[in-house]
Symmetry: D3
Subunit: 249 residues, 6 copies
């Protein structure tokens, strides 16, 4: 039993008493092109969290289903319908409250697993504020699936197309492959577009120009995505996350 | 296709253009005694939302999985591990942001379906602030499953045990029956306790006394719960919710 | 001497040193139909607070004269001129600050007496936040006049007209009777209307529809109100409040 | 009829339709030495507001009974029991909400009458924020009783003792005389102390030193106070406030 | 070495270990008539801070370059381009955060030197909140250059023109003279206007009327300003500030 | 004349009327090892801003001297004395207020030039909120000096040592070289350490471990830094920033 959601309070208490790691998945509701659903980041967050919990004897808290504002060149931005974003302050307070309650319940080892790039600064802010209040009472890690991925896996995944950089890996090879492995029924392979991706821009423009992003919302082509590549990422990232847990907790 | 989560942004846009009702389920992560999991309120919110969406051609936004603070005499309160609550201000901002983004995307008909009693005042506050800003641009209803339930259904459901009032119907006959109908695999019937329920108290006490609630967290006995009673509630409440949608939208 | 307002700081200090209960009345500025003034909830809060202070040797802090937003089906709502409401966050902060200052001054026993239905959730939030900060340093009760009222008194008060439920008891028999007992000079008996009351609605609608409430602002007829009935309520509720103080402090 | 509190909503609406000036009194709950009660600033705010309303055909909104933090050298500061202060942000939000609701009800002419020195900056902030939102929809004045007082009246009031400057006029000649005129039953003349007053300090010290203020809380002697001097102030200040209303509204 | 900005972290640490006083200058970006630049308050804050640091062996933290809202009759107000103001809450949080970080670094003696009149209440609020959290861990003074100025210096500075009171001393004799002494290259003496100054008004008006202030933004004539008078102020005020530091730290 | 600080309000107004670009520099007060001062990020922000203003006929607003929280692996983090950080919400409000005031003054073209890595998400949040309120009324760019730097310049600057990645370029070759070019008097070349740099970590840990960063605060060696390399960066980045201004404004 790894989903906190499905535990009774007594089962949850027993897990805490064992010193189990609690993983908090944070996703987003954000456009992912014509071939992927709005929930990609949440599916990935839950998917990694549950497998990691199985590996380390931990448990998974209910997901935060909404994330911080999608930016044009890392997620397509606010101009796409279906991208439902939180203000920065809201995400900080939401993450803060959930972590505070877990700590008050006795949880001492927490991994926040955010799978939406733009969440990072605000999740860190929330955790910093928690750490100022609770000090050594709990140790909190903030991780994702892309930073721990070994360089050689990137090479293997991008054996057919060039790696466009993490920011543009939105609705592209890695996310599509991961969805094919985690939730193939939600991938519309036949709708994958192979148009020109987004053009990098070394500064931000506000209000966001309507042509900042390709009209499909795909920042780089998803061509060459496959469930096998997705599984390769999952296996290698999970190994890294398990190592991190072993080292830090 | 009724889950917004599973739609691409283009599918979501098509639904909005049809004028579809968007239902936002709000649950909680809260103790529900030894026989029910922490996610009861979220399961019920999603369960009613999805069936209602099917009936009215609407769609269901990703659930808000955490709710406002559980109170001792309507949910057991903060003293139980596993009850992970948001501060009032956090729930207001979270609900506000999600609704604002939906309205900016063009959604004009929204039903917020909260299945955690204590959420109500803060959800109303969020919606009031949204309505002050967006006026007639969107019509928003706030509903639950207990207020629209016809009196005769209450009589039918409580044909073996007396109705203890809604506040005490926590982890008791209605919630247990609903869970048996919606997610029987999450109900531990064999752990149902039939001890003395909670004693009403016509005022609030802070700090919450440790003995305010029976140690199991059950406020009234769940005895006589059944999937059939759950289905009876579901059917009658859905009929009412459909009538509400027909009348208001 | 029971009004903190009229004490010098030395007299106040002496009362604290005695361990006196401090009662904080919270009212509202809200329409109450054509026959009652805007200040009903404040008059009732002060009236009960002062009599209770006399009975228990306590004192009454200066009243909070504005309350949370009036809802259509419990107070007539925002559409009536003269209803001057606070945002939820404002009421939380206001109540929090007053309680914090009292506790810092050494007060250990506080009863918040709110006589405006819609205040409850936000007053509880303020007190919860205070209790998180000050723990057992002070014990705080939150009460009103309707929840402790014995069932048999309701029967006696509603011997001529049926009891419409507490939400609709706005500017109706109980409030009118209480005003006749507490402040008869502010009651315009000749303007009492006996029109159709409000119709219950098991959900909230925003923006608030203009026809949600009868045009007079009276949710249920005030017919049969009398100072004697008011006094009956006062006496019985005070007895209950005294019992609560005796039990809890 | 000048107290909004005592009006029905219909009477209030009729006053607005006449274009009546609405006066919002803001006081404080603050130590005023051994001879004056905690409510001095509120009594003065209500006293001036009601007399002004009578002179200009206006009305008086329910008072804000708590004010911003008392400072040592203008009110004695936080070290005296009975001084119950609001945080700055709380007073801003409270004043903002009340003004916003009045403006939404159609009020176009508002005078905020604050009789607690330390309130000023935060009341101005609230009104500035309102003016940014509502522009010319309402004209709002912020006044007190000391700034408009003609110089020759100060000379007449201080014919026996020297004028110590406004900051030190706390629980001293002007406030004591005003209380003797407005509410003589709340003045304990026999407890007036004639000790050394406070020593000016051209900077602020935090945390507030325990000896910053004379132990009685009196910043300047109240000797020579009288109801006649109070009446002199009332009459002259009211004349000025009426002139201000005539000029500005 | 007195500017914290120019220190390495090791040099800063050494100063703290010595028990050095840290001075935080707060200025503003605000119109100062046709002859003075927008940065007057910041130049004066830095100028006094650096000289004081030299005298007491202290150090100067990086300046806060923006201040609270300019008021018409003490700074010309919001209607002049170039007046870039912070909301009250923003200034409170900004000052709070800087002070908190200094205290966490081990600083025990802090002087906040604000040279913009309107900052005072909000700086005090920030420091009060810090003092509530950190208590005796740090002693914080809030000072400016005008309150400690000896009366005889005012007489000497105003030997040719009458002293108009501190509020109107905006872009007038004292500020112009101080700028002539601190930063003569930023003073356009030839553009000094000798028109009618502002007219006092014993109340505030919102929205701010367009004619509240002379069109030049000068509240009182700067005629008779000189570097010598500026130096006289600097010397006398510094002597007072040194005395304050000696007494309090 | 390019510094807004040194302009009179009339000169500022004339620049706005010309349609001049306003550049808002945002720095930080943060440890930069034993050889660089705390103000590096502010010196660089002002340095680039002033040169850019000269090139494009723009002007430079007063700098924001404090930034968001330094993170261990991009700035050394909170454990070093002298790192004085703002909370995220504070930086958002501060940036928001300054931008709002500039826009109200008529500024239509703004470049926010932040030279502290950790500021980015919060500056974007502030600008996003402004853009939501003011829409097309002003165009706002957010830039720094590292993202627009051409790849070939990186190769030239790192001709002796390998490029460690931007996050670790803290107090290392680029910042040290830039300081040598902009403010050589603040660089202590003789104190440069050539120890082992920081070790990358693909996740965040809270509370920040004491050994997360080398004890000097240097994340990568500054060896090979030179004023010539600094000038090379300055020239190439300015060319890019000028191109950006030409394209966007």
């Amino acid at each position: 039993m790894i989903r906190m959601n499905e535990m009774t309070w007594m089962e949850f208490k027993a897990k805490i008493d064992e010193g189990a790691i609690t993983i908090l998945p944070i996703g987003a509701c954000e456009q992912h092109g014509p071939h992927l659903p709005l929930c990609v980041d949440t599916v990935l967050a839950n998917g990694f969290a549950e497998r990691l919990a199985q590996r380390v004897g931990g448990m998974v808290a209910p997901a935060i289903n909404y994330g911080y504002k999608s930016k044009p060149l890392s997620g397509g931005g606010p101009l796409f319908p279906g991208t439902v974003d939180l203000n920065g302050d809201t995400l900080v307070r939401l993450t803060y409250d959930v972590l505070e309650e877990l700590i008050k319940d006795g949880v001492k080892k927490i991994m926040v697993l955010s799978c939406h790039f733009e969440n990072e600064a605000f999740v860190c802010e929330a955790v910093d504020l928690i750490a100022q209040k609770y000090g050594e009472q709990a140790k909190i890690l903030i991780a994702n699936w892309w930073d721990p991925m070994p360089a050689e896996i990137i090479d293997k995944v991008f054996d057919e197309v060039p790696f466009p950089g993490w920011a543009f890996e939105h609705a592209a090879v890695t996310e599509t492959s991961l969805m094919m492995a985690f939730a193939p029924e939600l991938v519309h392979e036949e709708r994958m577009v192979d148009t020109q991706g987004a053009t990098p821009c070394p500064y931000h423009i506000y209000p966001v120009p309507k042509d900042a992003v390709p009209p499909t919302g795909v920042l780089a082509p998803a061509r060459s995505s496959s469930a096998a590549r997705g599984q390769l990422i999952i296996d290698s990232v999970l190994d890294e996350l398990v190592k991190i847990c072993d080292k830090e907790f």
